[in-house]
């Protein structure tokens, strides 16, 4: 068991691609950390550098305080679970799990004991003599896990280990992974592009984009205080709503009408030197059917009226979609997000407002409805840099804020 430190780590592939740019992450001993981001953002590259499967072009990697850059994977004592499981097809489950121990020249009886113990934990005891080809996806996945945990490594690296499973199995396995990590409390770096996995599994999340770390923090922190538009849009499902907004007399002028801002928010925006044209971000649950909001709460926010476009009742609550007039919020971050979600070319996906109402709401499709917005929860972003202007910051951000600078570290 050990901590892992990435100190200004950069990866440049021979063809010039910079897949990871100046990554700084400190992973504590026993911590479960998630690397998340859209496809091609460099998650696997970072993981492979920690594993030793890719060379580090610049910077230093330390595991348990020791520099690892030049060490071969076998000398780093870390185990990896691959997306494709990478089980040895010519070996039985038992042989697969025994392989790392056999390489380590452990004696036969000890190997047997460890393999059977691990198989027990993973509920694989009755499958030990089968070959991977004859097993289900979930079972293979567990064998891959078993091969990783059997030798008690300093750390686990997992590269999208659940992405080949169907939805139901994925939820089950997610719980299993969480329990396993808790039980073993081994430092774990887990790569995923599924934000639900990221939110539910990790102690902390590292959000990446284009090889650059956007933000590091606990799931709740990222959800409540996203550092920029990209993180705000990436974390949360359904995603945050983004609206072009104009700052005028301490209020936000949006397609939903004027949203009055609290004094605190107004001050923060003034401190941040917010531009007049901004982007407002509001999470679906910060809306409510105005009819269900008590008066004193109602006074805290703003109310507008709009026609219900689509209504999805989830039982516990209702997702209500409104069509909104006017322009859409435009920014590089949002374009990236749309491209990743595959919605860039779907005209319907834009100009929609997603809200979450209590199940008791009587909103009906095609009818107009009064909607209340919790203006305290509004986040305001700078459209040019994507930075979140509502995060109180001690010193004003440098004006030449680029993508990389918007990354903030917080626990």
């Amino acid at each position: 068991m050990a901590d892992i430190v990435l100190d200004h780590v950069t990866k440049r592939y021979p063809d010039g691609t910079v897949a990871a740019n100046d990554i700084n992450v400190e992973i504590a001993d026993g911590e479960f950390i998630i690397l998340v981001g859209p496809s091609g953002c460099g998650k696997s590259t970072v993981l492979n550098m920690i594993a030793g499967l890719e060379d580090i072009s610049d910077g230093e990697l330390r595991i348990g305080g020791n520099r690892m850059n030049e060490r071969a994977p076998k000398d780093r004592d870390i185990a990896m679970v691959f997306q494709s499981y990478a089980l040895y097809p010519h070996m039985t489950v038992r042989e697969n799990m025994a392989f790392p121990l056999k390489i380590a020249k452990m004696d036969k009886a000890e190997i047997n004991r460890k393999v059977e113990e691990t198989a027990m934990i993973l509920d694989l005891s009755q499958h030990l003599d089968r070959k991977p080809a004859n097993m289900s996806g979930g079972q293979r996945q567990r064998v891959a896990m078993g091969r990783a945990i059997v030798r008690n490594p300093k750390a686990f690296l997992m590269d999208e280990p659940l992405s080949n499973l169907d939805a139901k199995l994925r939820v089950q396995m997610r719980t299993m992974v969480a329990k396993l990590q808790q039980r073993l409390s081994t430092t774990t770096v887990y790569v995923t592009h599924d934000q639900t996995e990221a939110m539910t599994l990790g102690d902390r999340i590292v959000v990446m984009r284009g090889g650059v770390v956007q933000q590091i923090g606990s799931p709740q922190h990222l959800y409540d205080h996203p550092a920029n538009l990209f993180v705000a849009g990436f974390i949360g499902s359904p995603a945050m709503n983004f609206l072009p907004a104009r700052l005028e007399n301490g209020a936000l002028r949006t397609a939903l009408g004027d949203l009055a801002l609290s004094d605190e928010l107004r001050r923060t925006l003034e401190d941040a030197d917010a531009p007049r044209e901004a982007i407002a971000g509001i999470r679906p649950e910060d809306f409510e059917d105005a009819a269900l909001v008590e008066d004193h709460v109602r006074a805290r926010g703003s109310v507008f009226t709009a026609e219900v476009d689509v209504l999805e009742s989830m039982g516990s609550d209702k997702f209500v979609y409104f069509k909104i007039e006017g322009e859409q919020a435009m920014s590089e971050d949002l374009a990236d997000l749309a491209a990743d979600a595959g919605t860039a070319d779907v005209p319907e996906s834009a100009g929609h407002l997603v809200t979450r109402f209590a199940a008791t709401s009587v909103a009906t499709e095609g009818k107009r409805c009064e909607v209340w917005v919790d203006t305290d929860k509004i986040q305001v972003f700078d459209p040019s840099t994507g930075a979140n202007l509502t995060i109180p910051r001690p010193a004003p951000a440098p004006s030449s804020a680029s993508r990389g600078i918007s990354a903030t570290e917080s626990g």
């Binding site: 990478a86 040895y88 010519h90 392989f99 790392p100 390489i103």
Partner: protein
Amino acid sequence: MAIGQARSTGDKSKWAVANTVVLLYALIPVLWILSLSFKPASSITDGNFIPREWTLENYAQVFQVDLFTSALRNSIGIAIIATVLAVIIGTMAAYAVARLRFPGKKLLIGVSLLIAMFPPISLVSPLFDIWRGIGLFDTWPGLIIPYITFALPLAIYTLSAFFREIPWELEKAAKMDGATPLQAFRSVIVPLAAPGVFTTAILVFIFCWNDFLFAISLTSTSASQTATVAIANFTGASEFAEPTGSIAAAAVLLTIPIIVFVLFFQRRIVAGLTSGAVKG
């Protein structure tokens, strides 16, 4: 349902006809030689497919010739040694071609293709001179070396195709499990490439076994003459008798090792051995 069945019966008979045609095409010459080898000298030219009289005289005659027994020994020895060496070198070269990036890789592939395209006949006379100069003429290595050279391109091509099929991640997994590159190669890659190795071995063996050109040019005595050459040197019982029967018998004998070799290794060529390694 009924239509489907009717169609599949129709399909089946079509396949049966096609299979029969192909089988006959391939087997008739072989069967003809087999029939010749059992005919006595008097009825060799009678044109009957099934011999009227059966005799083992031809086979007995083949083994009376000392040259043939030693030639058979030479053939087996030379072909096996050349096959083993070509497969070992080919495996390593093919792995490098399939997996590694190194300077001169394109050149290596190009040169091996070039060797495969080079007409052996143009090499025979220079080789003859060189071999006589350095004492390799009429020795086993004298044949093994050119066999390896000409079998290698084939071996590299077949094997690198097999290596490419093996998921990269298996090797990475082995590395993460603590294996050195050599351990990973031996305990993960080679077992998975086994079908490819055996296929290649069969092809190389057949190539060496059947070669006539090098064998006739680079050998002269029973020290290294191979079976193909020995057959060509057969003479009849008398100076005027054609040795057709003995040649047929020898040819039959010559195909037996190949059939055995193929049958032996074919059981190891299990298709889809890699299935189950990754998702699915």
